[in-house]
Structure formats: C-alpha cells, structure tokens
Symmetry: C2
Subunit: 504 residues, 2 copies
C-alpha cells in the first residue's frame, strides 16, 4: 500500500508507524503488528500504532527513530507491506517452553533486541522466561558474547587493562571515584564505564558529572585512558553492549534481575572495554540487592566461571551493603565526600576500606603488588590518588583545580534530629534513597542526604541523624514528609535500657 | 506539578500522558512511569510517554482514553504527581517467584487489568508467569470469578439458559449459526456472544454481521434472547469479562494460550451471560489449536471441573478439527453456506453433524430430549431452524427474507485446479486461512475460499481444488501467490498408484 510519510516527533525506543485506522484495516494489520516500510532503496520494519485523527487517511506517521533511519522528508511516498514476526519470536517461544537455545539462536534474539525489532510484550516474554526456565552456562556465555559483538568495543594496543563493577543496590557507593585514580596511578589502564541512576539517588556517572563531562564517545574513552590511565564515563553515551540497556528497560518496571541477564550484563560491559582483569563487587545486607550471603557466594562463583569462559580473570568481592557507603547520598554530596577524602588523605572508613580494598585486589591480580591493599593505601596517602583524579577530571573537560569545598550543594536544608538517646540499630538503604530522590536527586545535582549517624553509633536526644539537601523548597518539603513517614534511621534507646541499664 | 492539558487523539489501550522531556525530568519521572493526574475532582493514573516536540514545556498531552475519562478541555489546568506502581505489580512478582495467589490477590490483579492500570511489560509478566508457574484450580476459579465480577452480566428471570463455545483453531466453523436457532426453536434461551477474527479468516461475529447487526449492548442481548430465544452478538461490543480481551491482546502476539487463562476466558464468558448449561467444543487435529487427543481430554476434564466449581453444568465435546468445517471460509461465504443448508434442510455433513450434535447435547443436558441429536435433526429438517434463524436476524436488525443466493461474495475469482489424479490426503487449515486472509477476509466480507475437495475425496487432473474470492484485484493476486506457494490441498496420486494400482 502506498502512503505519504509525515514525521511525528515522538521519542520511542522502537521503529513505529502511526496509521489511520481505515488504512490499517485495508492493509489487514492491527495495533502492534509489523509492517515493512520501503522508501527508495531504504527500508525498515516498524510496529503499527493506530489513530483516528492525528494521521489522516493516505498518510503514515513515522516517529523519530524511524524517520531518521529512513532519512525521510514529509510527503515522501512510502510503501507498506504487512510482514511476519521476526524469527526470534519463535526462539523466545522455545525458551518459554523450556528449550535450550543454541549460540546462533541467542545471537539472533540479541540482534533483534539491539535493532529494536522486538515489542515490549516479546522482550518481556524473553526476560521472564529466561528467569523462570533458567539458562545454562553455555547459554549465558553466548548471551554475553552476543551482547559484546552487537556493540562497540575498545581495543588497547598496550598496557594492562582492568575494570571493576558493583552490582548495585547500596546508596552512596562512590568508590569508583577513588578506585579509578588509585589504579591508574599505579600504571594500569582502567576505562570505567558507569551508569546513571535508574532507581538510586546517584549513579557513578551522575556523581562524576558534578566535576567533569561524562558523555564520552568510545574513541574519547580510549584516548583518555591511554593518555592518563583512567576515565569515568557514562556507558549510555556509547554503543557498548546496547542490548543490555534495552533488556534493563523491561526488568526495571518489574524490579526483576534474572541471574542470566545480570551475569551477561556485567560481563558484557567488562568484555567490551577490553578488560583482562576485573573485580566484581557484590554488596550483601539488609536492603541491598542481595540480602543473603549464600546467594552472594553462588553469584560470586558464577561471575568467576563466566569470566573463565570469556578469557577474563575475575575476582568477586563480597562487601557489606546493609547501609550507605560513606555518609553522603546524592550527586554533589557524594562527589564532595570522595574529593574531600582524597584531599585530606583520610575519610569515612566504609568508603576508604572498600575503595582501597578493591583497588588492592586489582593490584594483586595483575602482579603490581603482593599486598595490594597496602599498596593502594600508600598511593592514596601519598596524594597520588588525588593528583591522578585531577588529571582525569581535566582530561574529561573539568576544572582540575576544583576543591571539595567549591562543590555547591542544595541550599534548602533540613536536619532530622533524634528524640531519644541510644544507639543506631538500622540505617535503611531504601528510605535514604527515597528521601534523596524526593529531594530532587539525581536530577538536581545538589540534592541528597547526609547521614550523621550510622549503625552502632551512639546518639543523644537532640543529636542530628540526617540532613536533607534540596535545590527547591517544594522538593525539600516533600522529602521532609517522606523522612517523617519512613524512619530512615532507627535509634534503639529502648533496647539499651532493657539490656544494659543505660550504661553506655 | 501544574501543567496545561492538551488532547492528543491517539487510540491507546491505556491511560497515557505525553510529557515534554524537560517537565518529566523536573517531575522525576521516566518513560513508562506512572503519574496521578488531577483535574478538578476527577483523577486517574496514567503512564508517561516522552516527547521533545509534540508537547511543549508546561503542557501535558492526554490520549483519547484519558481525556475522555477526565472530560478535559484543552488548556485546562491539571496537576501531576509521581505515584508508585499499583500493588498488583508486587502480586505479579509473587506469581513470577512461583507463589500461589489468594482470591483477593487475583481479584486485585484482574481489577488493575480491567482498569488499564498495568503496562504491557507487567501484563506480559503475569501471563507468562502464569503459564510457566501454573495455577491450581483454586486460582483458576478465582481468576474466572474475578473476570466475571469485573464486567457486565446478564440475568434472566425465567427460562433455561444454555450456551456453547468452540475453543477455536478450525476454519469455516460456522456452526453457531445453526446451533443457536435450533436450540432456541426448542424453547431454550441461548444468548451467544461471539468473537471477531484475530488470526482466523472469520469469527462467528464477522460471519453473522453479513446478515445482521452484531454490535449489541448487554440490554439488547437480554431483550432479544427473551423475545426470540437466541442471539448471535459480538462480545467485544459489550463489557462482558473485559479483562479477558486485554489478556488476549498480550497472548496473541506471542501465539501463546496458557491453560489457566484459556479456561478462565471461556468460562467467564459463559458465566457472565447467566448460562447454566454449556457445551465446550474442543476441535482436535492437524493444524487445529489442539493437535493431541490426550491434551484435548485433559482440557475437557478441566472445563468440567471448573464448571462444577462455578455451578455451571458443562459437557466437553471433542470434535474433528483437522480440516475446515463445511466447504467455505470467509464471512459472506460462510453465512451463505449456513443459510443455504437451513434453506435446503441439508448440507455438508461435517457442518450439519457437528452443529446438530452439539445442539443435541444441550437438549440432553437440559432434559429437552433423550436422544438429543435426533431431536435437533428433526427441528432442522422441519424448517424450524431456518424460521427461528430468520427471527433472530430480524431481531438484530437484518432482513428476515434474505436468501442464501442474495448474499454477495467477491467477484474477483480464481480457481486452483489439480494437476494430478488421486485422492486428497490433506487440507491445511493454516494455508486455507492464510489464503483467505490475503484475499481480504475478514475485512472484505466477500473474500474467502471455497474448498471443492476435502480429505479422502477423489480428484481427476483438471478438477477444481479450491476457489479464491476477493473484492479487489490486488488482493486476489496476492492470494493466488500464497496459494501457489502453500499447497493448501495435497492430492496424493502417487500414493494411490503405488498401493492401489490406481484402482479407484
């Protein structure tokens, strides 16, 4: 059927064509069916959306992705044909029935995911079926390789390339800002691609962005890494393992994270940047992504096995994730805390022990030092970490002379105080994140939470427990309301009275 | 956040709001997140879509469903708040993890499906998880009851209400056009709600629509049933078991039909119209929905058990579904064949035996006759079936004097002939449907296929095998192309030569 194209400036993750109901009926297609669109020599497969009014009879509305791909002009003549579902839909049904997928089949599915050829219904069926039917290690390896091969990759001609990854779930986890310069200062290459917050208050990319540009291309990541040893870039600005982002867009609304996809997601990113050694940080504790130590151990072993199959030397580090790392949550607050620690060569032990511990593991894996932690600590305390961090910030277009005190944070401030005397028995990851997000993080860089008291610390009545920072009054008000309802920090004066006769 | 409403006339199955990316970022919501929209005293929960251009900063675009629900005017001031996912998303995750859902939990999910509160991702997760984790009979019963209770229902003050349902997959299955008047002629009430074709060439509603209006409200269905004894209406025009249609919209693109949903879907419709006795027709054979007789038997028993739990007397009839019923496929051709059989009081045995057999079962279940089939046959041969059918057609606004020969069919015609001599060994359901749909069915009422030779029938070289009818030349051409490629009817001259020395 011949129609005239009109551009509809909708942002949509897929190729979509909006048809008048009459034309669709004539063509024999329904909402969600696929049509092939031909424009001159260009063609693509798009999904049909229906309208009564926006697009008149005889016209076909093309959303952003599709009109850009075809380089279409308004009123251009295009031809539409109904087409069958892609072969990968059959393959997804095979997984739904419990079958093992072959390497070629997984490659086909990942290609269709990458090319936006699958609908949300089909992609969800793949993710949920993979979770319930499971994938064996062959399938997980093929999934990872397919994700790597369908995206951009980094190749380094020389140097030892390392990487680290935290599987997430713990607020305030700003450790990459210290690990990357420490490792780079020792002569290793660490091209760290990080994510932005989806459900958290700040991803590493959001935090780094307070100080430097993180929207780097693959070429820029390579150039900076080769020049200064390390980089902290937003992975989403590259085309590294693009299938992964699309899978996450389905997992996120269901808050599911099937193990096959989790393993493949992490390792595809490490493989794509050319890393040969990687540490995977698995935080465990109440309110973290993994709450059970046995689950963490089994996941740790899976990462090592998948690494072995991919030719990647992996160490898994199980870390404590039952409360925030350091004392700050939110982009500017976290950048400030990390930079201040580097400037003062000291800081919150949960932040420094973890950062230097993971840097140390990388030193041991690569033979840089036999006592990795001590070597990392020496670099940090010598000021080389700070010096290298400033080089990285400068290479990413930031101000290399920036000091922690120069970083602005929100000027709408409220401090929640303890009404009782006692010791902190719980700091809720989830509540802290909720408060920080309500205050405006990660969009408002200066918004977030400062945690004055963490688990085990003693509190007197009237002592500050946490301070909320916001850039806008209404967001501060909403965050205060959440803080009042949520009990983010629990002080157990009561328990101390009963068992210890208030003897502290 | 306060925004100005603008109407965006998009047909969408859910409440959707289209926001400028900047406003969405300010509000802290992403594509697919939910927001509560308040307009005066009205409010609803809508899903966020993002745009850079269609909707400017400060505006919120509302698609059809949402703007109608709020009765909004352009430029109206509306307020938006981010909201959490509905509770049912947690419950869907429970099923994903393999848990048994309670009656209240299933009710909650079905309500959210009915209210368009779930995204495609969430609904797909529910359907796929129900398929892979399964549901026990309690859950299936609750699912069915919830589907009934969340929709419109029919109540009859007097009379015995019966119903029939074919689970589908066999082309040409026009039996309801004969069963309904036969049963009604015997004094039973049969308020038949039928579906339109989704993947088939003609649903019963499409076929009936050739002769009468099928877009009836629940009140009209009740009134006509009470007055003339039967009706054949399109279920989609009512609000009977609305959750079912929405579930099917997810199953269809995956071509899956999980047993819990299949059972609930059929029985919810029977329960909603107030039927006390129902026959479920389960066609079995190559190319039918069910190919294996054991699967059909187990499904038959499940229908009976579910009926027992719902207080509905069910008989399951396993029928032959390995080739089309009767000789025609496509709305007008099927209506013509059914009407002609009633006029001539004879016809294709596959059509008449099945129709009268099922009517007969209903007679036996309700005590109308001890030999139900003979009773049905007597009614049919006496001309009472035709007489009642004309009454039903008239009650539904059609021409009661219409004759089979008055029904127009497509005038673009092509007949495929046998090139060999032999016997028909296969008539492919799937190929016949594909040809009929390519020819224009069900949209073009006159399009379809006439099957001249069925399984076992003897063919000479040059004999017609099937005739394709279309309303448009280009559709006929495409259908011929499909027919040439598909081998819809296989004549095995070769086999007869080898084993029977061409002795037929």
């Amino acid at each position: 059927m011949m129609l005239k194209a009109i551009k509809i400036p909708f942002k949509s993750g897929r190729f979509a064509v909006i048809l008048n109901e009459d034309d669709a009926s004539e063509l024999g297609v329904r909402e969600g069916d696929r049509v092939k669109i031909r424009y001159g020599k260009a063609h693509l497969i798009a999904t049909v959306q229906l309208t009564k009014e926006i697009v008149g009879k005889g016209y076909a509305g093309l959303t952003d992705l599709a009109s850009n791909e075809l380089e279409i002009v308004d009123e251009a003549n295009i031809e539409l044909f109904p087409v069958q579902k892609p072969k990968s839909v059959e393959l997804i049904k095979k997984k739904t029935r419990g079958g093992k997928l072959t390497q070629d089949e997984i490659r086909r599915i990942v290609e269709d995911i990458t090319n936006n050829a699958l609908s949300e219904v089909e992609l969800t069926a793949f993710v949920v079926s993979s979770m319930l039917r499971g994938m064996d290690f062959d399938e997980i390896e093929w999934l990872t390789r397919s994700m790597i091969e369908t995206g951009e990759r980094l190749y380094f001609d020389r140097g030892i390339v390392v990487d680290k990854h935290s599987i997430g779930g713990v607020p305030g986890n700003k450790i990459s800002l210290i690990i990357v310069p420490t490792v780079a200062a020792a002569g290793l290459l660490i091209p760290k691609t990080a994510s932005r917050a989806i459900t958290s208050a700040s991803g590493t990319a959001d935090t780094m962005e307070v100080l430097a540009d993180v929207n780097l291309s693959v070429d820029e990541i390579k150039e900076i890494t080769e020049r200064v040893g390390g980089v902290i870039a937003w992975g989403g600005a590259t085309n590294i393992a693009p299938a992964d982002d699309k899978i996450i867009r389905v997992e996120h609304p269901l808050s599911i994270d099937p193990r096959p996809q989790l393993l493949a997601s992490v390792m595809a990113k490490k493989g794509s940047v050319g890393a040969k050694h990687a540490v995977i940080d698995i935080p465990v504790g109440e309110g973290a992504k993994i709450e059970d130590a046995d689950v963490a151990r089994s996941l740790a072993n899976d990462f090592i096995e998948l690494g072995r199959r991919l030719g990647l030397n992996v160490t898994s580090a199980i870390t404590y994730g039952g409360q925030p790392i350091g004392r700050t949550v939110g982009p500017a607050l976290e950048a400030k805390e990390a930079l201040k620690a580097m400037e003062e060569r000291k800081g919150s032990s949960s932040l420094l022990e973890k950062s230097l511990g993971i840097a140390g593991i990388l030193f041991e894996m690569t033979g840089v030092a036999t006592n990795g932690y001590m070597h990392a600590r020496k670099i940090f305390e010598s000021g080389k970490t700070l010096e290298k961090f400033r080089e990285i910030v400068a290479a990413q277009g930031g101000d290399e002379n920036v000091g922690a005190d120069d970083i602005p944070v929100g000027d709408k401030i409220y401090t929640l105080k303890s009404t009782v005397e006692g010791a902190v028995v719980a700091v809720s990851n989830k509540s802290i994140v909720k408060i920080a997000r309500t205050a405006g993080a990660p969009k408002d860089k200066g918004a977030g939470v400062y945690v004055h008291k963490k688990r085990g610390e003693v509190v007197n009545a009237g002592d500050p427990l946490l301070t909320i920072y916001a850039e806008k009054d209404w967001k501060l008000d909403n965050a205060i309301e959440v803080a009042m309802a949520e009990r983010p920090i629990v002080v157990s004066g009561m328990v101390l009275e009963v068992y210890g006769r208030r003897g502290v």
